[in-house]
């Protein structure tokens, strides 16, 4: 039997996992998602400024908010159109700096922050309490951001959190319970609390149960308990803190781009070992879209990502990058992966970057960007050694 026939036979005869079955509600899920996307596009086309925020991947909360007026943009490199000012937090919070944390959950007891997502018009934070199996998501809007929810027809419609059931006060501001549904999920059956953290700027805090596994229906979650969590967590959050983002590496802003987002994940690998992943997303200078696309639909023009989870175990089968980058470097469909960089793996990929259409061109671009990256000394040992992400 030839190898090709062998492969054909093995693929066709491979016993697949018993769990490999489409969910019964797949068509419903698809149609709901399709309508939401259509509604978002309609909002954008009509001049509305909409954005969907995904905090937690497949179990992400989905919120939709029109954007405030676009402000100045984060630094753009000088090679394309001259320098633009760096972007400090706006005094009235019309926008955020993607390199400045405005949510601090350090005082929240029992919870571990798993993810930050910082963008221009919103910031999100996700934290879990492993002991109680609870998850809390925070969505911080810039001023003017109008919260949306999905109605029974799955149209994204603006709503006024201030019209909800009163929930006392948080940080001296009146707080309100959010409707039970229409927000996607933060874990299971989330309960949400909202208050204005700054003039015209809402913050939403959701508490839910960590998805328990393949049978979410088997889970029982007491909404009252989740509301209690939300009310306990909310006053412990510090907002508008202005803490600088640190990164395991530093780099200049690549030519013709502006910094659009920074993301930090603290995860565990398959063996339970913790690792950290940091990501910077850049958009091209001519892609000035105030409706910055949600992270699950359109990727930034250029992504630089580093983590300390180690190299995969299948490097022997991968394609070496043809130039010497000083470390083991591989290329996969134009994505460059470089391992053993002071304890980090660095991955760089791009879409729609100038002069980088083919995989070879993308790899060359990525290699050029890799050469500009410096890992902060000791960064692999812990976040305490991290430093500025961007150098002039």
């Amino acid at each position: 039997m030839s190898f090709e026939d062998q492969l054909r036979s093995d693929l066709g005869g491979l016993r697949l996992p018993e769990t490999l079955a489409p969910p019964a509600d797949l068509a419903d899920t698809v149609l709901i998602g399709m309508r939401r996307q259509a509604r978002r596009r309609a909002l954008v086309a009509a001049g509305g400024l909409a954005i969907a925020v995904a905090v937690a991947g497949a179990t992400a909360p989905t919120w939709l908010s029109p954007q405030p007026s676009p402000g100045p943009i984060v630094s753009t490199s000088r090679a394309c159109g001259g320098p633009l000012p760096t972007r400090p937090p706006a005094p009235a919070w019309e926008y955020f700096n993607p390199l400045t944390f405005e949510i601090d959950a350090g005082s929240v007891t029992g919870y571990r922050v798993k993810a930050h997502h910082l963008s221009t018009y919103y910031q999100t934070l996700e934290m879990v309490n492993p002991a109680s199996n609870r998850i809390v998501g925070v969505l911080l809007y810039a001023a003017g951001g109008e919260p949306h929810r999905f109605d029974a027809q799955n149209n994204a419609v603006p709503f006024d959190p201030g019209a909800g059931e009163p929930a006392g006060s948080v940080h001296g501001a009146p707080a309100f319970w959010l409707p039970d549904d229409g927000f996607g999920t933060v874990g299971l059956n989330p309960q949400g609390l909202a208050w204005r953290w700054a003039p015209g700027a809402w913050v939403l805090v959701f508490a839910g149960q960590v998805t328990p596994g393949p049978d979410p229906a088997a889970s029982t979650v007491d909404p009252a308990e989740l509301r209690t969590i939300a009310t306990q967590v909310a006053p412990q959050l510090e907002l508008g803190v202005g803490a600088p983002v640190t990164s395991p590496f530093s780099m200049p802003v690549p030519d013709c781009t502006r910094l659009a987002t920074s993301i930090l994940f603290r995860e565990t690998n398959n063996n339970g070992a913790p690792y950290t992943r940091f990501l910077l997303g850049f958009d091209t200078a001519d892609k000035v879209d105030p409706t910055y696309p949600p992270p699950d639909e359109t990727q930034p023009s250029l992504v630089v990502m580093a983590d300390n989870r180690g190299a995969p175990d299948n490097l022997d089968a991968q394609t070496w990058y043809p130039e010497d980058l000083g470390h083991p470097a591989y290329v996969n469909d134009g994505t460059l992966s470089v391992y053993g960089v002071s304890g980090f793996a660095v991955e760089i990929w791009s879409v729609a970057m100038p002069n980088a259409d083919t995989d070879a061109e993308k790899a060359r671009l990525a290699a050029g960007i890799f050469r500009t990256i410096t890992v902060h000394p000791g960064a692999a040992d812990g976040e305490a050694a991290w430093g500025d992400p961007i150098v002039p």
Binding site: R8, L31, Q37, A58, V303, T319
Partner: protein
Amino acid sequence: MDPEQEREFRQFVAARSAGLLRTAYFLTGGDLHDAQDLLQTALMATARHWGRIVQRDQPEAYVRRALARHQINRWRSRARRPETLTSEPPERAAEGDEQARVELRHGLLAALRALPRRQRAVVVLRYYEDRSESEVARLLGVSVGTVRSQTTKALAKLRAAYGEVTERDQGRYVHEL
């Protein structure tokens, strides 16, 4: 999408999603969660253009093309789920033929996972879906020459990685699967 089209779409999903999910599973290199995510994304793209797709009587081809292309271009899973880069978590201990099957599955999926996404898509379409070079070229939107070159490269890598497993144990269990 009008009510009649929605009914047709639901029927299509009910009838074809199991097979499509299997293809997605191989396209993702054996990541179940990623495969479900990929299928959902491809079906959403299909649903948006369902009326036109049905008129051409090609819904399944459209979904399969969407699966392959979305898998090549997605970024969310790369940022969020690095597990696709690494080996499968260890399965429970097994003996005899069961152990052999587990090894084969691991070897094949690991070899697929190590391929660049485009080469993986070519392999899945050519050798799992048994499509011709011209069909694969049309599905991926590339030339037949590209399919051939990608196939050659992919087979060389698979032969190096996975071939050792099958050659070592061929005759003991491969044809029992």
